[in-house]
């Protein structure tokens, strides 16, 4: 029955990821922990690999609808590779909790601007 759960998780994550243009790790990681019984670290890593497949499918599907702008993607996507390497290295050394509140405030401010 774990297979069926994984299929449902995949369909759900693919739907929301494509609808909003995000990887969907926010929902994927907890679902993999709760429904598939993976530990946090394996869930994060596994979600990343699944997101890779889902994002390729998402780009291909948006491209069929003529919506993909590769130049714009490169402007954020290329620096982000460097950023993620820095972030992973920093992960163990930063004051996680205080940074989390800062990140949450940032998301809330941008979110409020888009909703209004």
């Amino acid at each position: 029955m774990v297979v069926l759960k994984l299929v449902l998780i995949g369909v759900l994550a693919g739907f929301f990821g494509a609808l909003f243009g995000v990887g969907g790790g926010v929902v994927l990681v907890p679902l993999l922990v709760v429904a598939a019984g993976l530990d946090q670290r394996r869930a994060s890593a596994t979600s990343l690999a699944a997101i890779l497949i889902a994002s390729i499918a998402g780009v291909a599907t948006y491209a069929l609808h003529g919506q993909v702008k590769p130049g714009a993607a490169a402007i954020v996507g290329v620096p982000a590779v460097l950023g993620v390497l820095i972030g992973t290295a920093l992960q163990q050394r930063v004051p996680f909790r205080r940074l989390s509140y800062g990140f949450a405030v940032l998301l809330a401010v941008v979110g409020a601007r888009l909703v209004a």
Binding site: L6, V7, G10, V11, A13, G14, F15, G17, A18, F20, G21, V22, G23, V26, V29, L32, R42, S44, A45, T46, A49, I51, L52, I53, A54, S55, A57, G58, V59, T61, Y62, A63, Q67, K69, P70, A72, A73, I75, V76, G77, V78, P79, A80, V81, L82, G83, V84, L85, T88, Q91, F96, R97, L99, S100, F103, A104, L107, A108, G111, L114
Partner: protein
């Protein structure tokens, strides 16, 4: 100048993704929409493409550490392809302003999630 600023946000999004494991995409989309003036739909499509290099590098490193449950990743990933079709069809058919508002709501929910996780420590 704006392009340099948006690239800097891309770098920051990568750092935050590395630290929190919460994707770059959630910051790529507003950076592209508000910073470069893309439509919400174009920003979302470009964001999915921008996620790829990071996901490739991240998956490669995690694979070397032996952290990926390959069977689970394949089942979830392949099933996701079906969900993706529905998500894209809905995104292209929704009015631009509604799609943007829904994305804003997603950001607010993620803010609550990140704050809650910090408070309850995990």
């Amino acid at each position: 100048m704006t392009v340099a600023l948006v690239a800097l946000i891309g770098l920051l999004a990568g750092v935050l993704a590395g630290v929190f494991g919460v994707g770059g995409g959630i910051l790529f989309v507003p950076a592209l929409a508000l910073g470069l003036g893309l439509t919400q739909l174009h920003a979302e499509a470009a964001s999915l493409l921008a996620i790829l290099p990071t996901a490739v590098v991240g998956s490669w490193r995690q694979q070397r550490y032996g952290n990926i449950d390959l069977r689970a990743a394949l089942i979830v990933g392949i099933a996701a392809i079906g969900g993706v079709q529905g998500g894209v069809i809905l995104a292209v058919s929704l009015p631009e302003s509604l799609l943007r508002r829904l994305f804003g709501a997603l950001l607010l929910l993620t803010a609550v999630h990140v704050g809650w996780r910090a408070r309850h420590g995990s």
